[in-house]
Structures are given as C-alpha cells and as structure tokens.
Assembly symmetry: C2
Homo-oligomer: 204 residues x 2
C-alpha cells in the first residue's frame, strides 16, 4: 500500500512539473519553446556508440564545405559538414558557456549536387555555387571526461562516409580524429570559430 | 464561483494533457522528442511580419552557397543560405506531405570567412573550401493562401541582408522573390530539390 501511495504521489508530482512546463511554453500565446529533456549517448555492451536518434531535429550550428574539386580530388570531407548539437546540452551551454558531460555533436555529411565547372560548382537559379545533394554518412563526437580521458574528454566516431549510416561505431584512435580537434578547434575541441551560435553570446 | 470551478477544471485538464506529453517524451528512457506546439506567423496591425522568434532551434534543411567570387562579385546571395522550417509545421509535413497553412521557412544568411583565393575559398585544417562566418540578415517565407493569394499562397519577406536583422518586414512584390520560386522551386515554391529532409521520404 505504501508503494501505491508513493506511485500516486509521483504521478501528481510529475503532473505538477509537467503543468509548469506546459504553461511555461505557452506564455507568449504562441508556443515554440518547451523545456527539453536531454538525449544522452547510448552504448552497446562492448562500448560502441549507437547512432544518435532524431538528430535532424537538433540545433544546427553551421556547414563548413571543402569540396573534392578544391582539394585535388582527395578531400578528407568532400561534402557539406552539417553540424548539430543535441538540444538539451545546448540549453546548458547557453547558460554556462561550457559543454556539459554527455554533449553530442552530430556532423552529417552531405554531397554537393554534381559539378558543372572545374571548381566543383554548378549554376542554379540563385547563382553559381554549391548546392546540397545526397547525404553521405556522419561523424559524431561525445563529451565524456572519464570514458574518453585519453583524448582529452571527447570521443570520436565514424558512422560511415556513405549511406546508410552505421547503426553503431567504435571510438576512433587519437591520431585519427582527436589530434586535429585538439590542435585546431577553438574551444574544448569544438570548432566554435565557424559557429557564431556557439561563439558569440551577443549574436544569439 | 462558477468561473473559479472552471479555472480549477482547466488546470486539472491541462495537467492531465501535460502529464501525457511529459511521460510520452520519456517512453524510450532517453527523452528527446516532445510534442511541439506550432509557432505561427505574427503580424503588426498594418500587416508587417514580425521577425520569427527562436528560429535557431528550428529544423534545419540545408545550406546552398553562391559566393560573390563565383558570381562576378554580384551574387544575389553571397552567403551560405541556412534554411530552417518551423518544427510544428514540419511535424505536419512529415505526415501529410504538404506544407500546412502558416508554415514558415527561415533563411538565415551567413557570410563565408574571408577569402584567400580568387574563388573565395580559404584553407583550414580540414581542407580548402568555404567556412561559415558572420550572420548577414535573413529572408523568410510564410504560407497563407488567403493573405498571399497574389503570389500563389506564399509571402516573401526580407529582414535585411546585413545585421542586425529587422524587427519586422513588409511583404515583397511578386517580381522581387515569388516569381523565381514559382518558376524554379520543385514543390509548392520550396526548393526541395536541395533538401533531402523534405524531398525523400525514404531518406528520413
């Protein structure tokens, strides 16, 4: 009976919390912001990272582009790098200025539409340039200071550089990904120099 | 007294709805998807569109890029066009395949970092290409078949092609924006040919 009472109390408490969230979201009469629970990294028993769910609805931060045609046909990433941060982690980052444990960045790779010019560009109604085409795999980074202590607190994962994306991935060795982030990324192994949403508090 | 009772009933009903939303969001034990209320367009008394709120947390769909250097220094849009769809409208689109009334697309313009080469590109650790820099204004489209009947049901707005973005904007004449979308965009004046998230149900 005591458990039953606790369960009822939990439902009532949950209901009260949810009511606050719900009405909080409607305060402007035109809802859009709702408190979001975090999505945290999920691993297999042997430590592989599962492909994060629902990343297309995460917070987008920017798309560096290094086409093959400008890199001797041998670009490390011949695609748009569409980079997202997990929204619950972004909420914390906005307040603290630090990426919390469990932060996930998702870099979806997206090929450009076929080239018409030697520089890889083509012409569409809006002009000559580069236009997004097919998705082409993904890379993911996860912040976990204990699990990835050997790479300064971030783990790096390749979910294929082609479609379909892998369902799970093993962490990469330091000399495959982490070294470059450690050497060149502006803040805590994240390329905030390309992402004003993460770099410029005044611009948000 | 009767009003008081209704208010209490409303709170209880709201609480029940919110509880469903709240627990629904936790069904996988690792929450991320929550039912989202739609954010609908807001207008001034004289029909200007207010700058949409919170667009950086909307659903990103793609970034066509037409740099000045590849367009004789006269690109119509010399920036990354980072395009977002309002999330509540996207939820409906996923189910129906049609953009509902009130759909908003937000195109944030983002300059590339300063060029080092005649094609506008520069070299960073990941290779030679184009890297996102400062934001540079925004264009917005809204679907409203009655309000924008003259432009086939979509209104087009320019919130400056520089920062800061305008707080509100008047609808543009048909020959300034709509004509090009009507002539060239793949689906209902939206450039779904560049956005697999909106174009390819199998790829989602």
């Amino acid at each position: 009976m005591r458990m039953g009472t606790q369960a009822v109390a939990a439902v009532i408490a949950g209901s009260a919390v949810a009511t606050i969230l719900f009405f909080g979201s409607l305060k402007d009469g035109n809802a859009q912001t709702q408190a979001r629970a975090r999505y945290l990294p999920e691993y297999t028993a042997d430590g592989q990272l599962l492909l994060p769910k629902n990343f297309h609805e995460w917070v987008y931060v920017g798309s560096p582009l290094t086409p093959n045609a400008l890199n001797g046909g041998q670009a490390g990433f011949p695609e748009f790098h569409n980079v997202y941060i997990e929204p619950g982690s972004y909420e914390i980052y906005k307040k603290t200025g630090e990426f919390p444990e469990g932060t996930i960045f998702f870099k979806e790779l997206q090929l450009t539409l076929p080239q018409e010019n030697p520089d890889g560009s083509r012409t569409e109604a809006s002009g000559r340039g580069y236009f997004p085409g097919k998705w082409n795999g993904a890379d993911v980074t996860v912040k976990d200071s204990k699990r990835f202590a050997d790479t300064n607190g971030w783990g790096y994962f390749n979910f294929n550089h082609h479609e379909p994306k892998a369902a799970m991935a093993k962490v990469k060795a330091k000399d495959e990904c982490a070294y470059c982030h450690i050497a060149n990324a502006k803040k805590d192994e994240v390329w905030t120099q390309f992402y004003p949403l993460l770099d410029n508090k005044d611009a948000r």
